[in-house]
Structure formats: C-alpha cells, structure tokens
Amino acid sequence: MAEVSTKEKSLLASLVITLLVFGNFFLNILELALADEPIANIGTSLINVVISVIILEIIVQSLLASLSASQKDDERDQLIERMSFRNGYLCLSVGMWIWIAQTTIPTWWTDLPYSPYLTGDLVPVLLLLLFVIAEVTVTVTRLFYYRRGI
C-alpha cells in the first residue's frame, strides 16, 4: 500500500473530527426530536459544537504540521481541490432543492408528504447538517482523488 502523505493525514484528521463532533451533536438532536422533547438552547449548542471543531482542528493540524515538513500546494492539489468543491457544491444544492421542494410543494398540493422537521426550531440544525454533509463530501472526494489518482 502506498504511503500516506501529510495532506492525506490532515484530511483524515479533519474527517474524523467532523464526523465525531458533528455526528454526536446531530444524534443528540435526533433523539430529542424523535422523543418529541423540546430542544433547549439550540443556538448555544450550535456555537459550542462549531467552537469545539475549530479548537480541535487547530490542535490536530498544528501537531501534524510540526511532525512533517510543510508543503505548498501545486497544480495537482489545486485541481483535486476544485473537483472536490464541485462535488460538495452539488451535494449542498441537491439538499437545498429537496428542502425547498419539501417546504413549498405541500402548500400547492396537499397530498404530498410534509415533514414538520423541515421548519421551525430545527431549521438551523438542518442547515448545518447540509453544510456538514457537503464538507464531508469535499473531504472524502479529496481523499479519494489523492488515493486513486486524477
């Protein structure tokens, strides 16, 4: 198996941090939503999660940078980044269109299924979920292109 480059290690670390911190947050919210319990201080929880991710990223990325020589991005890195951001954008826009359809179409045609979770207090959480899914898509795509080639 080919050696794992510093960039891949950095991406893997970001992926693990994102999945662990945001995964835990979304699971807690899901449990509360399914139990029909009120979600208190959702704004504070969101800020705490985002700050936790930023702090963890700074610590882990600094550690990785201190263990290996810094490398500037070249044309391959930039190409992989562009292609990954395109996939992330695609993911985000598909999510946004599904959301728009879910929240608007039932007002025109009441037979269509309507989810109460797509409106109200959970809106910022769902927006964050879409951004996190897009971010994970970008990271996974970058890892895929670094491994498989482009």
């Binding site: 080919a2 480059s5 960039k7 490398q71 500037k72 070249d74 044309e75 391959r76 890195d77 670094y146 498989r148 080639g149 482009i150």
Partner: protein
C-alpha cells in the same frame, strides 16, 4: 472513438540521471513529491508547463519523457 493514454519514462530517466530522487525531481520541477509519484504511476497527467519542466530537468525532449498512445474504443450507443 479514440481514447488516449499517456505513459512516461520518468522512473527510468531518474535512474539514468545519477539516480535522481523523486524529491530532487520535485524540487527541480516545482511540485510536491506526491505529484511526481502520481505522474510516475500514471495517476495524474501533468499540465504542459510541468511536462516541459520535467523534460528540461532531464535535458531531454518531451517525447523522450512522455509517450502518447492512442487506442481505438467503440462508440457507446
């Protein structure tokens, strides 16, 4: 429809050039070592500019570094 595949002699040329390391070639060309590895293994086709720089690093023509192979592929229906 013709599909193209680009092969290269970078590995051989490195050994013929005083066993040049991938890192040394990367520094001469201005890319990362990972990019040289990817090019050598055929996992990345570099831009024309990088291709010319690689050829210049070995003091050879581009044709001596990169080989363009054309294969026939049936049209998809």
């Amino acid at each position: 429809m013709a599909s193209t595949s680009i092969k290269n002699n970078i590995r051989r040329l490195r050994f013929e050039t005083n066993e040049m390391t991938q890192q040394a070639l990367a520094e001469a060309v201005g890319v990362t070592r990972q990019t040289i590895i990817a090019i050598e293994h055929g996992k990345y086709s570099p831009s024309l500019e990088i291709a010319f720089r690689i050829a210049a690093a070995f003091h050879v023509a581009m044709d001596d570094v990169f080989i363009h192979e054309e294969t026939e592929r049936p049209l998809k229906r």
